[in-house]
């Protein structure tokens, strides 16, 4: 990336203007806000609340699995916990956190005064709390909430689902609308509002990865909306999309769902790649190795993500040629992903590295996400998948890519940009405590799951055979420790907002990008005069 400069008078003016156009006071500031920084903050807090909510459900699951047999909860409630834990974490925690980061950072990174569509931005956030209120309220209804897994396979979600399924469907509709509006906003902002001189190949990688993610969102969220609509009409209005008795096909559900579902997993990891590509160079004090190859690798992953959906369904009785096609396409994704991991390592190579909390999370991301990638490759091998399918090996795999992948990158981003957001440095000591507690407990939590899966423990079952008891106890202890560790993060953030050492405009020596040319905290209105990018 080229050097980016900004003439200081503009920055001075911005800061000066701030006194006249600061944030309004009171609760209405947050309800009516069209400011990208306010909306970013709302998204991030919402995401954290959902992270704790989904986490509490994970604690219920791990408490029940602490011992074999049924101790604490009914199997049906266990199923609701696994289902809603997945839905809340995917649609409530990870995706809104990325949208929050996009809101905060993209305008500052490309030198724009705000997002392109500020009023739509307000809507796309404020419909989310309603969606999750609907979803979570269904847990308290007669017959319970969704209990068919977050993948809501038919006929579990049609013939055998609880009466509250319509609420699940509407909640997904609203979440989908929110995501699509957010994606449109991101694309229009990046395409039309870049500062003069901010050419495509000068865009920070976080902006690039989000642009590609936004296109994925627009391509697949409507397909998810269609799928839940078919579930709705099958269950309540007598259609037979997925009912064989009426000429439909339950296997077709899985094809349509995973046509959405596989690009969805890249929606949850591509922005992470952008975050790591910002943090690793900053703390290695070297420019990113292979910028252009990073852009092309991200784009190829996005294209390939549409050609691999059926690797989730190897055991449905597909013909051999289809199994081979999806197996090889899936393995092909390891190539661009490998390019990325190589570039991060090459960026660190002979850099003068320091290990502040964001870098600790970034390095942990690279190692642990790669482990998740490798277990993904194992699952991609069709004959091996027949053994791994629906076991804890799968659970271990996707938690490595989503928790130590997506969530670790979000934590890294929070630590990296907190000084810019709050104007104060966070407590490095507490940050390191948070990191080490998290990274140790998360491995105690998820690593033994690989062995449970290989030994044949099925997922989504509240009880298990006695030989799995010891390992499950270790896993549960890791789970409780990881859950508790996240309160350290909450403490760090609150402490940082309330005060602390004042942050300079650029608190990280090696950081690059327009956002560091703004004072800390970033003024309420920034770049009202576009900076000049050379």
């Amino acid at each position: 990336m080229s050097t980016i400069t900004q003439d200081s008078p503009a920055a001075h003016d911005d800061h000066h203007d701030d006194h006249h156009h600061g944030a309004p006071k009171g609760i209405m500031r947050w309800i009516l806000t069209t400011n990208h920084k306010d909306i970013g903050t709302l998204y991030l807090w919402f995401s954290f609340i959902m992270f704790l909510t989904g986490g509490a459900m994970a604690m219920v699951i791990r408490a029940e699995l602490f011992q074999p047999g049924l101790q604490l909860i009914e199997p049906n409630f266990f199923n609701q916990m696994t289902t809603v834990h997945g839905l809340v974490m995917v649609f409530g925690a990870v995706m809104p956190a990325f949208t929050g980061l996009a809101n905060w950072l993209i305008p500052m990174m490309i030198g724009a005064p705000d997002m392109a569509l500020p009023r739509m931005n307000n809507w796309s956030f404020w419909i989310l709390p309603f969606a999750f209120t609907i979803l979570l309220s269904s847990l308290f209804m007669e017959g319970g909430g969704p209990n068919f897994g977050w993948t809501f396979y038919a006929p579990l979600s049609t013939t055998y689902s609880p009466d509250s399924t319509a609420l699940f469907v509407f909640a997904i509709h609203i979440m989908g609308m929110s995501s699509i509006m957010g994606a449109i906003n991101v694309i229009v902002t990046i395409v039309n509002m870049r500062a003069p001189g901010m050419t495509w190949m000068k865009l920070p990688l976080f902006v690039w990865t989000w642009l590609i993610t936004a296109f994925l969102l627009i391509a697949v969220m409507p397909v998810l909306a269609g799928t839940v609509t078919m579930v709705l009409t099958d269950k309540y209005f007598g259609t037979a999309f997925f009912d064989a008795a009426g000429g439909g096909d339950p296997v077709m559900f899985q094809h349509i769902f995973w046509f959405f579902g596989h690009p969805e997993v890249y929606i949850m990891i591509l922005p992470s790649f952008g975050i790591i590509s910002a943090i690793v160079p900053a703390f290695s004090r070297k420019p990113l190795f292979g910028y252009a190859s990073m852009v092309y690798a991200t784009a190829s992953i996005a294209v390939l993500s549409f050609l691999v959906w059926a690797h989730h369904m190897f055991t449905t009785g597909m013909p051999v040629f289809a199994e081979l096609f999806f197996m090889y396409c899936t393995m092909l994704i390891a190539v661009p992903t490998g390019v990325k991991v190589f570039n991060w390592v090459a960026t660190m190579w002979r850099g003068s590295i320091s290990f502040e909390t964001p870098m600790l999370f970034a390095v942990a991301f690279i190692i642990l996400f790669t482990i998740g990638g490798f277990s993904g490759l194992m699952l991609a091998i069709t004959p091996a998948d027949f053994q791994y399918h629906d076991t804890y090996f799968v659970v271990a795999h996707f938690h490595y890519v989503l928790v130590t992948g997506a969530i670790f990158s979000i934590m890294a981003a929070a630590y990296y940009w907190l000084p810019k957001w709050t104007g104060n440095m966070y407590s490095e000591t507490l940050g390191r405590w948070h990191f080490w507690c998290s990274v140790i407990s998360v491995n105690v939590l998820f690593f033994p799951m690989h062995f449970l899966g290989l030994a044949g423990m099925p997922r989504r079952i509240p009880d298990y055979a006695i030989q799995f008891a010891d390992v499950n106890q270790i896993v549960s202890i890791g789970g409780f420790a990881f859950g508790l560790s996240q309160f350290i993060f909450l403490a760090v953030v609150i402490k940082c907002i309330r005060g602390g050492e004042k942050a300079p405009a650029k608190p990280w020596e090696g950081a690059e990008g327009l956002e560091w040319t703004l004072p800390s905290p970033a003024p309420y209105h920034s770049f009202t005069t576009p900076p000049e990018v050379k």
Partner: protein
């Protein structure tokens, strides 16, 4: 925001919205697309849903194919449903007549629909039914029983790698479903 930018914003939003709406439609287009693909590629074990006409072909007396019959009843259907014979040896091209026995165990009239599936899936295209109870809904009065006929032949072009065919019928209760199963739908 100046005029030119808001114009180009609106154009881009329009295109993106169109894309989103188009993808919503594409989700539904996947339904017929799926049936067409399964049909043309002969995958998924779906057999044809209308009676095929028996073309007198030379019966391949030198080759024997094992045909197995499997029946399943969904839990909400109070029927007993079994093949007359579980397995038979047939020569490709030979017209075979057999039947399944269904009995309504309840005290009410019940409508059932049998859905066939052939395994391995690639063999489905070579399994021809000239008459099958699965082409129609089956109505059984309270406590009534019926012999449900099936007449079929195996196409002599059946690949040599396949020596055993399994024909599975799952019987569904569609009494109050109001399904009108169109003739010609892939089944």
């Amino acid at each position: 925001m100046d005029q030119a930018q808001s114009k180009s914003n609106r154009k881009l939003i329009g295109m993106l919205l169109l894309g989103a709406v188009g993808m919503f439609g594409f989700g539904f287009a996947l339904v017929p697309l799926y049936d067409v693909l399964c049909d043309t590629l002969g995958i998924n074990g779906k057999t044809q849903s209308t009676a095929s006409v028996y073309k007198p072909v030379t019966v391949d007396k030198n080759r024997t194919v094992t045909v197995e019959f499997v029946s399943q009843v969904q839990s909400d259907l109070p029927w007993e449903f079994k093949p007359e014979v579980n397995t038979m040896q047939v020569h490709p091209g030979e017209l075979i007549r057999t039947h399944f026995v269904a009995k309504n165990l309840s005290a009410k009239q019940v409508v059932g629909q049998a859905i066939p599936s052939v395994s391995p899936g690639q063999a489905a295209a070579y399994f021809n039914k000239t008459e099958c109870f699965c082409f129609n809904q089956q109505v059984l009065a309270a406590a009534a029983s019926a012999d449900l006929p099936l007449i079929f032949y195996v196409d002599p072009d059946l690949p040599d790698s396949i020596s055993t065919l399994t024909l599975s019928y799952t019987l569904y209760n569609i009494t109050d479903k109001g399904y009108v199963v169109e003739q010609g739908a892939a089944r």
